[in-house]
Assembly symmetry: C2
Homo-oligomer: 639 residues x 2
């Protein structure tokens, strides 16, 4: 198979190529109007009847002939005879032919059973809803290529359109390829990967108004993939292949498309998202999407979404955009368009955007992202405090109601989040994990509302306070105790290597996994090394950094490390043994402004609640004896 190299086609050029090449001829189907929500009209729809189709009373009262009321006033009441000069009508009732106005019941005086008196003349057509007030026969209710909303359905029915001609939804075949793939399962053997991209594609396609057709997993085999594509093309309007879109040994997509049709683009100048195949077979678009989830979803939006809207002849809706301040410097490469997932915090009314991981393999970065920052090809990135425009992934009001949490990770934050939402459904808490020192810096820069910190000071023998005093000189902040927690060694069940102290780690053949610089657990480890006078160079694996307790536990459980330091609950989650080393204080650092805000008060109420204490202590390795206590406040204000 001849080698094909990826191009660096500009994204908009690649989009233009396929849009110009494909001309969909959507079929029309007639469906019941009641089931037409979200469907797209195939022609302008005209009213077949008028609504109302009779003159109707707009009030509860009496129908009269206006002429008969002329001259009536307080001095000259006019009497009306039942069935001759008036009839009773309720709102919505037809007006009999001989009458042409309605008088409200409040303005009528009963004289006897057959006679009423009025004190005011009325104009013809007063309080009458004329024929066709709502919808007039023959008028256009909705134009063609219009996506039907709830009110449109009402107007269509009002105009006598019981059915409506709409475009058949475009059928989009989804073909996952990969010998390592398995259907979703709780039991995943090593080397297996759960196929989940197909579900994400299908869900997006549903949202855009297409009909996803899931093909089932195909092995990495040229002939099998080719056969799957040919089968799919029999009924589909578009085919998506995932993955195998790059230029590697087992990347068959580009070759299959080339054999069966024409490759328009192989590779776009974006990061992430570069390795995409855009082609045409039998006049239908065939898109080879990359395997990495983030690359796949971005390409899905760039190509599949725009083709679905192209099919209907509709404008693609845009995401809401806001201006935000860059919290941390963001570097971009020349020549490629960068798409950076960001979190957005609303701090004192200002939006602060911070980049999430740029790895295209991290689905969770899409889950956690509040927005997407697009950096044009000629731009080298943004400095801290620059203003940028961000496309929102979450509604603005959610972002405004979100407490941004950073610093060290602890499971207590998850429990707290859950409790906060239960008590205050409109609030959200979003956490990122940058270690305790990172948390202090984030509070200093105003990037986050709260930061979890557990920094041991060797000199004072205390937690956190000395660090806050040092780094928060000009800030009014508060240290609130969240939990005490056990730190200890993570080892395989039964502790086969017999580890009990930091001295045991220098034995030959023992691999350690460390935490990243700035993590409180790393400081604790360094303190232990110093206390026991162990040289860090003697620790094999000292330089390998994991970013969370769970990652450390996962490495030990996975066998790539023998031991790591972390909290009890992470060891328990991974079914590891835990050898206690120290109890540490895990505090929340926050500005005094936040502490006194309504969000802050709600959060504190949760921290101080009995529910929080009982849930935490049930996890094991935690104590809530001081939860919610203010340990330190910079400005010594009354808290």
């Amino acid at each position: 198979m001849r080698k094909i190299y990826l191009e660096d086609t500009p994204l908009n050029e690649a989009q233009r190529r396929i849009a110009n090449r494909i001309s969909f001829q959507p079929q029309v189907e007639i469906i019941p109007t009641r089931e037409a929500l979200g469907r797209v009209t195939a022609q302008p729809i005209y009213a077949k009847v008028s609504m109302p189709n009779f003159h109707a009373s707009a009030m509860d009262g009496i129908a009269v002939k206006a002429e008969k009321t002329y001259g009536a006033d307080e001095q000259h009441p006019v009497r009306l005879r039942h069935l001759v000069d008036y009839v009773e009508v309720d709102t919505g009732d037809p007006i009999p032919n001989s009458f042409d106005a309605v008088i409200m019941i409040e303005n009528v005086h009963q004289i006897d059973e057959e006679t009423l008196e009025i004190l005011e003349a009325v104009a013809p057509w007063q309080h009458i809803r004329p024929i066709g007030e709502d919808v007039v026969i023959g008028e256009v209710i909705v134009p063609d290529r219009h996506r039907l909303r709830p009110v449109d359905l009402g107007a269509l029915l009002a105009g006598g359109n019981v059915t409506v001609p709409v475009f058949r939804k475009p059928r989009v075949a989804i073909i996952p390829t990969g010998t390592e793939l398995i259907e979703p399962s709780e039991n995943v053997a090593e080397g297996q990967i759960i196929e989940f991209n197909g579900t994400v594609f299908a869900a997006y396609l549903l949202e855009w108004g297409a009909e996803p057709v899931y093909h089932g997993i195909v092995q990495d085999d040229y002939e099998l993939i080719k056969r799957a594509v040919k089968t799919a093309l029999q009924s589909a309007d578009m085919v998506l292949l995932n993955a195998g879109s790059s230029a590697g040994r087992e990347d068959f997509t580009v070759h299959v498309v080339e054999e069966l049709g024409e490759v328009l683009t192989h590779g776009v100048a974006t990061r992430p998202g570069k390795p995409v195949v855009v082609g045409v077979i039998e006049e239908k678009p065939v898109i080879g999407l990359p395997g990495y989830p983030v690359s796949a979803y971005l390409n899905l939006e760039w190509f599949a979404r725009s083709l679905v809207y192209h099919y209907y002849g509709l404008l693609q809706p845009e995401r809401q955009r806001i201006k935000a301040t860059v919290g941390r410097r963001i570097v971009s490469v020349m020549g490629a368009e960068d798409f950076i997932r960001v979190t957005i915090g609303c701090m004192d009314g200002q939006f602060i955007a911070n980049p999430l991981t740029r790895s295209a393999g991290v689905t969770m970065s899409m889950v956690r992202a509040d927005g997407l920052l697009r950096i044009p090809p000629g731009n080298l990135g943004y400095e801290q405090e620059e203003t940028v425009e961000v496309e929102l992934y979450r509604p603005l009001e959610q972002i405004q109601n979100t407490i941004v949490s950073t610093g060290s990770h602890d499971l207590s934050m998850d429990v707290l989040h859950s409790l906060l939402r239960k008590k205050n459904p409109e609030r959200f808490l979003v956490s990122s994990h940058v270690g305790s020192m990172g948390g202090i810096l984030a509070i200093q820069k105003g990037e986050a509302h709260i930061a979890g910190v557990h920094l041991f000071d060797e000199e004072s023998g205390e937690y956190n306070q000395s660090y806050v005093e040092k780094y928060m000189k000009d800030k009014e902040v508060v240290l609130v105790q969240l939990v005490y927690r056990q730190q200890g060694w993570f080892v395989k069940k039964g502790n086969p290597l017999g580890i009990s102290s930091v001295r045991d780690l220098v034995q030959p053949g023992i691999t350690y996994i460390n935490r990243q610089r700035g993590a409180g657990t790393r400081l604790l480890f360094d303190y232990l090394l110093k206390q026991e006078e162990v040289d860090r160079d003697g620790i094999y694996g000292y330089s390998r950094e994991a970013v969370s307790h769970l990652s450390v536990a996962a490495a030990v459980a996975g066998g790539t490390a023998d031991v790591g330091l972390g909290i009890y609950s992470a060891a328990a989650a991974m079914d590891l043994d835990f050898i206690p080393v120290a109890e540490e204080r895990y505090d929340l650092l926050m500005s005094q402004a936040f502490y006194h805000s309504s969000q802050g008060k709600e959060l504190l109420a949760c921290i101080r609640s009995e529910e929080f204490a009982s849930e935490m202590e049930a996890l094991g390795g935690y104590s809530c004896r001081d939860s919610g206590k203010v340990f330190f406040s910079t400005a010594m204000l009354e808290i």
Copy 2:
């Protein structure tokens, strides 16, 4: 039955009452993750497996032990032996236990079948996707009370969650009441009303994540309605009754709720939307919605929507808001909150909001509305050119791509719209009908892009030009010919009254229906009266104004008028006879800036196309012999 009067409860007070009174206890159901799009999580969801659950290659290349590469550079290439020092790996392959780094295939030189050479050392863990890079076992994937998006489904599956616990959707029973109601049909007898509100309610509820349960029409009978409510309450979480929510003779809702439970609110201080019943039966909300569509949909949003979000414990998403300039003065009443449907035009980058009809009975005003303007109770309205905030009903980018058309209505505008959308799917054309003079004033004020005009000047014997010269002194505008059209008398089939000239209209017993002041057809009628020296006071019905050709035709077809003046196609639509009176010129007035804009060019291309001419002439009564011709230009620029 005792009389109950409507209150004027402030809207937010009424909302608070019901929200505080109802505490939903949603049931939890476990459903397949693949089918969970849009569902709301009942608890935080943790990863059950790590993704990947093995160390995986992030590149196509070879897996090596990093140590073996140390010291390699251009001068000191390092040779690696197959299966001993390296193995081939593709992206996603597991890294065998003895290796700890990956070198990209591009950086490897093949020496022989068994030997490779590298020129650069690599660090441990280079190009390796560690266990759990995507999702780490035990981490929170999504919090509770989270509405699942496509990416969330991917992350849930990646973390081994094949099923997910979600809240059962709230079941909302919809009970339409009314003896005049019929199920949707094309055949509507006089006095019958198509039940369409229920379909609109159901569609909105679907969009909000509820499960609508349509009950079927119930007659206006106290006992029948009561029974329907009791039946619905057996399975529903909320009941909607429509209509009968006011205080009239046959408005039973408030009495039924009072008998079975408790009425919290009867009447809110809003216009429209006042007559609503909000109550509680068996701890479930029961909402009596007004019959007028606009009132019903607004109340549905105020109460049913907020209760659906309350059920899930979710924040209600807000509509996008923009600042707009008021195009025409809007008057409001003290003491009530006004909700004005508006159209929004984007004129030279500025948004201009103009009120639509305020009648609560006009469903089409909801279809046509671009947004909603909320006027607080203490506010008397807005003057022209004031800036207001408007909630958008249509996406902003649609509004920005919309050509705003006003003036006189003609079917050619519908044909033009359809053609424009076919040729330029991203464009929209929105028409409102204010008559020819209204159209000229709108162009003068910059409220619209184009205006349809057909104003006959008695003195010059010409159409349109003299009016434009008079009213557009300082404006650079263009008159573009759209169509010639036949005006004539609308009469019943066979012309039973033998009408052929304006003189016949003064015969006793003949009822005329006129057009509104400023309409070109009205000017033509006045001209005919003058020519024939007929006194307008002799015309019975001269003062009754209809706002469109179709409305005039509907009045004649409905028998409330004997004759009206209008265009051929409207007579044909209503199956009336048409007696030609005159051919008139229907032009489009537009600014020269618009004429030269890309929108303007697209529109002109449609007007000058053969498709337009053939579609118009097929309608009958039209000629396109000059369509697209520029008849007049104020500034005498080269057009």
